[in-house]
């Protein structure tokens, strides 16, 4: 196994799918000659040609809708949104056509939409969002949020293989910052199975994406300072989500903190908290805590953005509250 960045792992995973399955093609803005705004598809057009790595006009609706059409006649398209924020332009198509076509007309839509998401580098209101929760609310869409390079590679393969529309949220702040051992060969990571990021006894943190690392740092601090043992569950996929693993962990630790970078109201954390309240109430020794971004657009200036995105110290404070409850 070689050490790879999160970004390289996505790129490798996608390239392997394109090599093994001629039906897979990539379409998006600047994905060809330029290799994608973040270089995930660098070198792809040289290897696969301009009809499998397609530079599209600036037309998010047409890009995603064309994927739907192509998938119905036998392709396995992968669309790249230059930034996850721009998926708002294709919202109508995804929600109106792609998400409902199987249920109402019996026609599966096996497409993958790659969504570079998340903040942390002054991208401002339109290059920093984590809109996964709004899509998790739409029946018929699957939502994937890998946190590690190994999962990023395995989950892109699963996404492409899946017979449904899959939204693959890749966190931009992890692209080059996170490196890890990644198997060379092709493999898949199943949807709906959480990954135990770290085992613990006293409190459970349920999270995904870049917040896994925020939770890890906070847990490390607390272990050193207070001897608090924190269990971290990385959901990996929100739709479907691993309810069983969350409930089992909460039953073990009896305390839970749900952490996400998306905004608070109606965020996916609320669904997790409600489920814990409904199904593990008897196991709880403290009220379930939520740490999220506040209900504002993502601000630009560094101190404002830092105050927006949940920080290690916020999680430390939340865990301390729970530990001493």
């Amino acid at each position: 196994m070689a050490e790879k960045t999160y970004l390289q792992a996505i790129s490798d995973g996608l390239r392997l799918e394109m090599r093994r399955d001629k039906r897979v093609f990539v379409i998006g803005e600047d994905v060809g000659v330029y290799g994608g705004a973040f270089k995930v598809t660098q070198g792809f057009q040289e290897e696969f040609g301009q009809w499998r790595v397609i530079d599209a006009p600036l037309s998010e609706t047409a890009i995603v809708a064309a994927c739907t059409g192509a998938s119905i006649v036998g392709m396995r398209p992968v669309a790249e949104m230059q930034f996850a924020d721009f998926i708002s332009c294709a919202w109508d198509h995804l929600v109106t056509v792609a998400a409902k076509q199987r249920y109402r007309a019996g026609t599966p839509v096996p497409i993958t939409v790659r969504l570079p998401s998340g903040g942390g580098f002054s991208g401002g209101p339109f290059h920093s969002q984590n809109p996964e929760s709004s899509f998790a609310h739409i029946p018929g869409l699957k939502v994937v949020c890998p946190a590690t390079p190994a999962d990023a590679k395995g989950l892109i393969a699963t996404a492409i293989e899946d017979p449904n529309p899959v939204l693959y949220f890749e966190h931009k702040h992890l692209y080059r910052r996170i490196k890890d051992e990644v198997p060379e060969e092709r493999y898949t990571v199943p949807f709906g199975e959480a990954r135990l990021h770290q085992e613990g006894e006293d409190v459970t943190v349920v999270t995904w994406g870049a917040m896994v690392y925020t939770a890890e740092e906070a847990a490390k601090k607390l272990q050193e300072e207070d001897g608090l043992s924190v269990e971290i569950l990385d959901l990996r996929t929100l739709i479907p989500w691993d309810k069983k693993a969350v409930l089992a962990s909460v039953e073990k630790t009896s305390k839970a903190l749900v952490l996400h970078e998306d905004t608070r109201t109606g965020g996916f954390g609320a669904e997790i908290v409600a489920t814990i309240a409904e199904e593990a109430f008897e196991s709880l020794d403290a009220p379930v805590k939520r740490i999220t971004a506040p209900d504002t657009p993502v601000p630009f200036s560094p101190p404002l953005e830092q105050a927006f995105i949940p920080q290690v110290e916020d999680v430390v404070a939340g865990l301390k509250d729970l530990g001493s409850y």
């Binding site: 379409i27 059409g69 006649v73 036998g74 109402r104 019996g106």
Partner: protein, 348 residues
């Protein structure tokens, strides 16, 4: 000033032979026109009898446009017909009883009661089911054409939209992508002059919707949408052009929506004289007259066709009425597809 070309009517039997149709094909077209109208007329009666829940839409006045384009499509071509395009489903061979079952929300409708009215299509016949949002299916058809181009197949996608939907961004994005990549797609605008109650001059400011084609780098044609042979000839030219790799065409079929937006709407806002004028150009009557004048269409032949259609409709309604309502246990089924669902001829 118009930019789009204006199509000519078809003058004689020999002219239509050149376009690929023999006399038997013409009788088949007449039968499909009668069947298309018959399904919608009988559906309307069922609606009034309270047998159809929700609302009910017809394509009265648009039968020649839908049958004409449908007839020009090849067996391997695909399309995304809309709520005025019943004729396309008929030409592609959907069984009428399944349409009535769909109308009535029965388990044997193509959507098994999950969706209503013309929100249906048999994907095995190369058709993709429409949604209410227009023209959402237009860029989907462009995606089918993109797949054909990637695989270098000689197949064509047909994308329908209305003059109302021409005002939305999906139309622009889809046509622009198709133009940039010269994809094998034909855009068909059913211009029935009324988007619900909104007239054309409040939908677009150019003379014809088809004038826009030039801005996307391909040809636009305006055709009399009540003339089934003119529609067929233009659609056939455009489809074969796309098949040869010569890019898209935008065909605008000019008609009048002869009823309200849906059956609840009496279309009070359409001038009476407009209905009277277009009633003289009824697509079925026009073609019947053409057949009599140019193809020795006899009373016996016409009676035979009408009797066959009548029996088909009676049997279809009876069979549809025997179909059960969906069991509520199916409510949660099919939100997500399984790998086995991809085991279709077209998904592979």
């Amino acid at each position: 000033m118009a930019i789009a070309r204006e199509a000519e009517p078809v003058g004689s039997l020999s002219e239509i032979k050149e376009a690929g149709l023999d006399r038997e094909d013409l009788l088949g077209i007449f039968r499909n026109l009668v069947l298309t109208r018959g399904i919608e007329e009988r559906g309307h009666i069922l609606y009034k009898q309270g047998k159809i829940p929700g609302s009910f839409y017809t394509g009265r006045g648009n039968e020649a446009a839908s049958v004409g384009v449908g007839t020009a499509m090849g067996a391997e071509d695909v399309g995304t017909p809309l709520h005025r395009d019943m004729g396309v489903h008929i030409v592609r061979g959907v069984e009428p009883w399944r349409i009535f079952a769909q109308y009535m929300g029965r388990a044997d409708g193509p959507t098994q009661g999950k969706d209503g009215n013309v929100h249906m299509a048999d994907s095995r016949l190369g058709l993709i089911a429409m949604v209410s949002h227009l023209p959402a299916m237009l860029p989907v058809a462009v995606g089918c054409a993109l797949a054909f181009r990637i695989r270098d197949e000689k197949r064509v996608a047909v994308a329908w939209f209305g003059e109302g939907a021409s005002a939305r961004g999906d139309t622009h994005e889809g046509m622009n992508l198709a133009g940039v990549r010269r994809l094998p797609v034909v855009f068909v605008c059913d211009n029935n002059q009324w988007a619900y109650s909104t007239p054309t001059h409040l939908e677009y400011a150019c003379e014809h919707v088809a004038d826009r084609a030039k801005a996307y780098g391909f040809e636009g044609v305006v055709v009399d949408g009540t003339d089934v042979l003119a529609v067929y000839r233009e659609a056939q030219r455009a489809i074969e052009k796309a098949r040869r790799g010569e890019g898209p065409t935008l065909i605008e079929c000019l008609t009048l929506r002869m009823e309200g937006h849906a059956v609840h709407d009496d279309a009070f806002y359409v001038p009476k004289e407009m209905f009277e004028e277009w009633a003289k150009r009824d697509p079925l009557e026009r073609f019947r007259t053409w057949l009599r004048e140019n193809a020795d269409f006899s009373d016996e032949e016409e009676d035979e066709i009408r009797a066959e259609v009548k029996k088909l409709l009676n049997d279809a309604i009876k069979r549809a009425d025997e179909s059960p309502l969906p069991d509520t246990s199916s409510l949660l089924d099919g939100v997500f597809a399984t790998p086995e669902d991809l085991d279709t001829p077209h998904h592979k």
